[in-house]
């Protein structure tokens, strides 16, 4: 295993641990304000503050906020990526299994999605309906469903012609059984690899929406939302931008690097390629 992949895995473990237990690192709550301690520079860098990563404009401890932000970002990333993977893969499998009009309808849906970047769709829907966490999660989850649908459809179409499928069919297995028990496990590698490509995109969409002030809403917080609050104070409170930004970047980077490595391991013929 290459060194960068090892480092990425270590970072991912640390990130998950920080998201789960980070709030225990600090005596302050993430919504606990302290008017006397507004915008204190990080104590870790010798400012003399008792807050190791500093405070925001309401004197809230950045360690606590980053921990909760990491939790929310991680939850949205994992749940959102799963939503897209399940919907997209199911549609791809159905398209390949049914062919005909069903396939044409699904692939037209893919075309429509390709004509509208997901962030535009998300902004449009968020303006129409009252923002709620579930709606946000669902919209973010739609990221890249069309990629799964296309890849799984192609993989299923080629798997259908394999000898083992013909054998099952001759033996009298039902179509449902053939697709779920035999073809799905065989195209699973494709789904898994796409999962690691899609997860950074999901993270970037959530943090971008929250950064724009249209994603996760206060009093809840996410890494992007912390950056959104830090944006107007970029020059005098850099820590509000730099720490959450680095966390998002390193998270997306680690997942990408592990994903690339995984792809090479699972399919040597794809070495060095990336399906964007």
């Amino acid at each position: 295993m290459p060194l960068v992949v090892k480092l990425s895995l270590i970072f991912l473990v640390l990130f998950v641990l920080f998201a789960l237990f980070g709030t225990y690192l600090t005596p302050y709550g993430y919504r606990q304000t302290a008017l006397m301690h507004r915008l204190e520079a990080p104590g870790l860098f010798g400012s003399g503050s008792e807050y190791p990563l500093g405070t925001d404009a309401r004197g809230r401890d950045l360690v606590a906020r980053l921990a909760v932000g990491a939790q929310v970002t991680l939850l949205v990333a994992v749940a959102g990526t799963l939503i897209g993977a399940v919907i997209g893969s199911a549609l791809g499998l159905i398209a390949a299994a049914r062919r005909g009009y069903t396939e044409a309808a699904i692939m037209t849906g893919v075309d429509v999605q390709l004509s509208l970047p997901i962030i535009i769709v998300a902004l449009f829907v968020l303006a129409m309906f009252d923002s709620s966490f579930m709606l946000l999660l669902f919209l973010i989850g739609l990221t890249g469903w069309e990629a799964y649908a296309r890849l799984v459809r192609a993989a299923t179409l080629s798997a259908r012609n394999q000898g083992y499928v013909t054998a099952q069919r001759v033996l009298g297995a039902s179509a449902l059984r053939i697709y779920l028990r035999h073809i799905l496990p065989n195209v699973f590698n494709v789904i898994l690899v796409q999962f690691t490509v899609n997860m950074p995109l999901t993270i970037l969409l959530e943090t971008a929406l929250s950064f724009l002030g249209l994603g996760v809403q206060p009093p809840m917080t996410s890494l992007g939302q912390i950056m959104s609050e830090g944006r107007d104070r970029l020059l005098n409170a850099w820590w509000l931008t730099l720490f959450p930004g680095m966390l998002i970047f390193l998270l997306a980077l680690s997942i990408s690097l592990v994903g690339d490595w995984l792809r090479d391991r699972l399919d040597p013929t794809l070495r060095g390629r990336r399906m964007t």
Partner: protein
Amino acid sequence: MARIVTLKILRAVITLLIAVSLVFFFIRLSGDPALALAPPDAPPAVVEEYRTRLGLDQPLLTQYLRYIGGMFQGDFGYSIHTGRSAQSLFFERLPATLLLGLTALAIALGLGVTLGLIAALRHNSIIDRFVMGFSVFAFAMPNFFFGLLVVLSGALFFGVFFGGSGATRSFGQLLAPAATLGLAAMGSFARFTRSSLLETLNKPFMTALAVRGVPPRRRLLRHAIPNAAIPVVTMLGLSLGGIVAGAVVTEQVFSWPGIGRLLIRSVETRDIAVLQFIVLMVALTMTVTNLLVDLVYVILDPRMRGGQNG
């Protein structure tokens, strides 16, 4: 070939029609479209007129046909915010966004393809590793974070601040947001060009050319690069989507007075008419681009002309 082209155009039209229909149904689902589309401070009689004109008492199908008809007459409704028509607000902002987006695309394409070519020609060298590392970095870097870092270092080290209208900006004030916007696409172009060229160089016809005594430079320029360019063309369509999406965030970070900021403001103020027009224009741009990419692909790749379904 004419059949493929017709089919592709037909598909683009259907795609666009569905996008328009989705926008229509979403607006109908969300509340009273008459209030949303009528000019602000309109007296109840005018809102009522809109209601009749939109035919909200009519069956949904009639409403839908009228909606499509209104578009052909250039009626896209008025901004609640400013009272001006949606398209006038849009076209006022368009030049700024085009300037930013096209500069970003030029940077991404120029630098990305060059880096990819060098990496492929120096396969497994330090340069190759650097380019691959850069492309992963560009993929994982959130453009708003990168943009903020650029703004921060600009203010701290160069005394450059980003703000004001597009016309008064210096070249550096254009280049910084354009590079930020183009970063992700640059990474994918580099990576894609590299793998495409590597793949082509390993094809049997390259060996055949070498055996026939074709000089290396000619093999590369006349045979390898044109063949490797075909898949890179398809990347153009995909990267345009990334640039449209990225522009929303980048414009916000650099206070760039373009459509991205208009979009965000429209979402915040629920300015439905403006929002609708922006979504429709994005769908139109993307569909036309995807169609053009498809057609260029047909022209570039002789195998596609045979009548296979595409």
